[in-house]
Symmetry: C2
DNA sequence: CTGAAAGCGCTTACAG
DNA sequence: CTGAAAGCGCTTACAG
């Protein structure tokens, strides 16, 4: 593979000059620029990014450590992050933690060893040692979706509180009173927040959230299934189950179907995170939608700002309720929906 | 950030010795090994992978350029690739081509600039210039899922022919005769093969595949929607539509629903590529499942074999039909299914 | 077993 | 505007 020396020889110039035209340095003669361009063309030369990175101490690469690529929410987040990064001249390397702190640590370590310029992370737990170390070491970093309290890093996320309130209002208007939640891991902010928001919203209607109606999940389908089975086994099962993410909702659907029961007739279901498939599930699932694309974009912008020495401001975007038919809404247009709720078109 | 020199100073040894213990070189005294290990520990030293790569001319990184991350099939493939690569001591950088040849080229160029050790690609079209160049330049490479005829690179893929035959047998047994297909891009092997296999299978029953029953899609949901609308507009619409991937099936579902029609009563639907959501769509979708995990694993193994100078054998794995209810199967157990078909449990 | 030195492919003051 | 030279952080013959 041709190196910069070959180009220099071919162009009859020094490597310094070649490097200058490659990097668009202004003080190069028109003639030199032309000769180098031609030599590059002839040789099919491509600069070695590894050597360049070593020399300049920047890789133009961002690391993205997400909790679970198979979760459509994170897949879309990753896509949006890559898109925005590319627009800003960065590549991104994705690390999939699979909701496992040890894997998360493996990825941040690997990414740091590769000297990425900045790190975007959606922490799987309270913070694995490697991640905390990175934050302390001053690696430019921003949290997306989930974050770690007490760690001084900008946070780009969606606030679901209002949407959860809307959801509870919606369920209450439908006549439901026994509401349960499949929670995410307590070690994650989103895991805690969604339960808290749900509990508060219930309280506003004088409703309780008893312990038996809080099932501990881990944001994966299997846990949604197990928790739902537990709810179904209760002497007094809940009327509606709110899954704190889309994968656990899938698991809940599995569990209900496995018993030969149906949604929403036997039990209602709502989910945090909206995905295209929810339109076509049986029944279509009422869900809370986050502005994923915007989150990805904002996260990259905040990180690049940090990399360039800026403050990297935190951003919080609202989520919104999308009403469909999994909570006993009946035919669209017939159910009474609370005022701030937007109804989705089928 | 501490460098190898700092470690050497701290340990009272030369950088050469430090490097040796870091790389597990045998000829190092026990004492030196201990002193280095301790110094590394004290300093929290981590080797700079960029410098190491420049020196050794290997990055221990694989590139994976896939057609569309948002397609659950490819998401799972990417996950499986990363898993196997990690087990073999490699990282993987994913490039999402989004079914766009220009983006595909951007990613292979970037990946090559970064001097990845090998490239896994599922080509978006007949082969973008950059990709062909990489193959010619001798970059260790393996095609996954899709491949380019005439390019001498191992191919790891699934053969859907038998499963498509099973599908057609299944549909025929159900009494369907007017069968249509939403094809993938003719520039892709999978796009062509699935149409060919479908046509051949029909021929075995003396059935034709008229041009009006071949809709040109691009493996994305929008095209599935458009093509299905076209089918629905026909004087004599097909009885069953076979979507060549899961995203186009999603689009087909959208189109049918938008007309206020239902699957399978008004029109049947089958899809290539099975995904967890197909169990919960309305109705559950009859689909052809590829052994995705195995494909990912096999692809990585073939690539690593090539990197290490081996031949990197091609691998072809069978796909299988999963019968559900979107083709008018009626209640499970009632429909007559052809012999080689495995029936899925709900 | 250990160290001094060369070199991987670039970029960038420094001097001219 | 151009080139010679140093140096980024490592690894690895080579010599001892």
């Amino acid at each position: 593979m041709a190196g910069i020396k070959d180009v220099a020889a071919e162009a009859g110039l020094s490597v310094a000059t070649v490097s200058r035209v490659l990097n668009g340095h202004p003080s190069v003669s028109e003639d030199a620029r032309r000769r180098v361009t031609e030599a590059v063309e002839r040789l099919g030369y491509r600069p070695n990014a590894v050597a360049r990175s070593l020399r300049t101490d920047q890789t133009r690469t961002l690391g993205l450590v997400i909790s679970d690529v198979m979760n459509p929410y994170f897949t879309e987040l990753a896509r949006s992050v890559e898109e925005e990064a590319r627009a800003l001249g960065y590549s991104v390397i994705i690390g999939n933690a699979d909701e496992r702190p040890d894997l998360q640590d493996h990825h941040v370590t690997t990414l740091l060893d590769r000297r990425i310029d900045g790190l975007l992370v959606s922490p799987t737990d309270g913070g694995s040692p490697g991640m905390l170390g990175a934050a302390r070491a001053g690696t430019p970093m921003v949290f997306v979706d989930r974050w770690i309290p007490g760690v001084d890093v900008p946070v780009v996320r969606s606030d679901g509180r209002a949407a959860v309130r809307d959801l509870v209002a919606h369920l209450h208007a439908l006549g439901h009173r026994r509401l349960a939640i499949i929670a995410g891991p307590a070690a994650t902010t989103t895991g805690r927040e969604r339960v808290d928001a749900f509990r508060e919203a219930l309280a506003a209607y004088g409703l309780e959230l008893p312990d038996v109606y809080i099932g501990q999940g881990d944001f994966q389908a299997g846990s949604g299934r197990r928790v739902t089975e537990g709810f179904l086994d209760l002497a007094q099962p809940p009327e509606v189950v709110f899954a704190a993410d889309n994968l656990m909702a899938l698991g809940a659907l599995d569990a209900v179907r496995a018993r030969g029961l149906g949604v929403p007739d036997d039990i209602g279901l709502a989910a945090f995170d909206d995905i295209p498939w929810f339109v076509h599930t049986d029944p279509p699932v009422t869900a809370i939608a986050q502005p994923v694309r915007d989150l990805g974009r904002a996260a990259v912008r905040a990180l690049v700002d940090r990399i360039e020495g800026g403050p990297g401001a935190s951003v919080t975007l609202p989520a919104r309720l999308v009403v469909r038919r999994s909570c006993g809404e009946g035919e669209p247009g017939i159910a009474i929906s609370p005022s701030p709720v937007r109804r989705s078109t089928p």
